[in-house]
Symmetry: C2
Subunit: 172 residues, 2 copies
């Protein structure tokens, strides 16, 4: 059974919605995803780190469309690990585990990995929205489209636009 | 630079001292390490899971002798990751990170991994006290002696009795 390392923020957890909402609450400016396409998160949201450290930022993030249903179906055919950068923001550890327990109850504690660098991850497939995670991974790599990477050349990684596309690639 | 995955409980964090102390507080019986050698933790400490879930169990664990000094020296010559099974006990996540920040301040958040199964870990060397973690690891494996594994045949793993021994093997 092949192993898939699935990223959390920007892949199953919609952190952009949280950034947009918090930025709007502070500045009054509601960004559309189109107008922030191709711009790094830190440039669009100058208070990014403050937002990420706000209680509830991760706990209340919406799910990315179709992620729950497709990961549940993948979970029957692959060994799934949810691998999330979390140790940079210590408060996120508990929030992320609670979020997974609520929205992805079919993911057991054995399948959760909260880390800093993903260099130490061994799997057959990695699904992530950040080049820094995919670039040193030696297996098959899927770049999940998010505004910050939308304009970038995916290079050796396969760009995927949605969980429906991932389902077509991995389950059909 | 080679990568080392260093386990936490029973390798750098002395959880046996915590079990012995909590068992004594409940039962009045203070175990010596000799009399519990070769017996599984769950048999010696029937309330093991209750202890592990007690606030402070991980946060207040003493360090294993010489672990801090040797890991700090290894950190100059190897890429060190502290890889700890933590997601089974959600309260342990924050306690473990605070413990590392206090006792191993030279270990950055990039070097911390809190997981369930260690199947997903890729490194050159793994130091762990449990066969279940070492057995599916494909690199070099060091079995750190703890009472529960003391009588077991280490098989293909190299048994190490102390951090001084690890230092001799990896730094000289």
């Amino acid at each position: 059974m092949k192993t898939i390392a699935v990223d959390m923020d920007g892949v199953i957890a919609d952190v952009y919605s949280q950034f947009i909402k918090m930025h709007a609450a502070e500045s009054g400016k509601v960004f559309s995803r189109e107008e922030i396409s191709g711009r790094p998160e830190s440039e669009v949201f100058p208070n990014e780190r403050k937002h990420v450290n706000s209680p509830g930022f991760f706990r209340n993030a919406p799910m990315i469309e179709d992620s729950q249903a497709v990961v549940e179906r993948l979970n029957d055919h692959y060994k799934i690990f949810i691998v999330s950068g979390a140790t940079e923001f210590p408060n996120s550890l508990m929030e992320k585990q609670l979020w997974l327990n609520e929205h992805f109850p079919f993911i057991g504690w054995q399948q959760m990995v909260f880390c800093g660098s993903k260099e130490i991850i061994k799997a057959d497939i990695m699904i992530d929205d950040h080049f820094k995670n995919l670039d040193h991974f030696t297996g098959e790599t899927f770049l999940f489209t998010q505004p910050h990477n939308k304009m970038a050349d995916p290079g050796r990684h396969r760009r995927v636009e949605s969980w429906q596309e991932i389902e077509r690639l991995l389950l059909q």
